[in-house]
Symmetry: C2
């Protein structure tokens, strides 16, 4: 909660309040941003406000893959040129956008809406796993690529999905773990190096 | 300009664009904030948008002191209990709010709207100096406190104001320069220490 400054106009501290609710923005930054917002030409600040309203009004989740989209099904699900035999499972829409940017993947996606994290109260039934299993009943699907985050929650989620999908007789793969491109071997952490060795490929 | 990600909904990249225009927010942060904005309950994000619209619609500059205010004249200028014989001159509205917070000052204010900075193209006639001189013609005013920022631009502005106000025969004072409370003398910079010695007070 923003500590209201003496004699500051109410609508000004309201914006401070709202901005300080954003991640990584404390009340000092919120205060600085508010003064920037009020000091620049009004149409620029109104454009910010309106872009947020439009975002909230227009963007929803795709009913097939749970991607963020303005049309349902999303452009990827409705793209006939994409390989409908492969589904890449990710935690969140931004993971999808990151993969899309590589230009290397031409299949479909399925967004779980997070990862299994019992400590944070996120159980499997809160993720879009039932919907994934439903999609896999389509004979067209040949392969599921698990692309959850390379951390504990992501690994637990991937292991859970393997257990669920295996009986369906569909090929399951996981994106590779190893040294990130452009990094130094000597500075890699033990766990990453272990994975890189284990996952070595023939030349 | 935000580099548009592949297949990202247009309204989403529009918010990224707008957020990345704010000071200190690069496109990666803007991207992260946008995902936060879309992922939380819609009413919370709409509250942010509406608070900005309300700010732009309601807040204007006081016609007397140029403070940010929802009513004109501002609450400080219209407060009959304040000492109308003292005017504290500051660069920006946030300086006013900082002084108000001390609870130590009960006079009026005058906001210049910046400081003289020829290199940035800010000349005296772009600041509210004429309006200040006009206010000083009121016989009620006994003292002008110069509270410009303790840097080159602020000092130049203060010197300029002294030159202009002196002939009017009104007492001029400057807020003290010295060691900030809670600091260490040994780590103070030379210029600050010099000022602190020069401005020493009798006990």
């Amino acid at each position: 909660m923003f500590s209201r400054r003496v004699n500051i106009p109410e609508s000004l501290s309201a914006v401070c309040d709202q901005l300080s609710k954003l991640p990584g923005i404390g009340y000092k930054t919120a205060y600085r941003l508010t003064f920037f917002i009020i000091s620049r030409p009004p149409e620029e600040s109104l454009a910010l406000a309106r872009s947020i309203e439009e975002l909230i009004g227009k963007v929803k989740y795709c009913s097939v893959c749970f991607n963020l989209t303005e049309s349902d099904p999303c452009p990827i699900c409705s793209d006939k040129s994409r390989d409908r035999g492969v589904i890449c499972v990710v935690e969140n829409p931004n993971d999808l956008f990151a993969i899309e940017e590589t230009g290397e993947y031409h299949g479909l996606y399925h967004i779980l809406g997070g990862a299994i994290a019992p400590l944070d109260g996120i159980e499997p039934d809160q993720l879009h796993i039932t919907e994934l299993v439903e999609r896999l009943k389509d004979d067209e699907v040949r392969e599921v690529i698990l692309a959850t985050n390379p951390n504990t929650e992501g690994d637990v989620t991937a292991a859970y999905l393997v257990k669920i999908i295996k009986p369906l007789g569909i090929k399951i793969s996981k994106i590779a773990r190893g040294l990130p491109s452009g990094s130094d071997l000597e500075f890699a952490d033990k766990s990453t190096l272990k994975r890189a060795l284990k996952g070595r490929t023939d030349e």
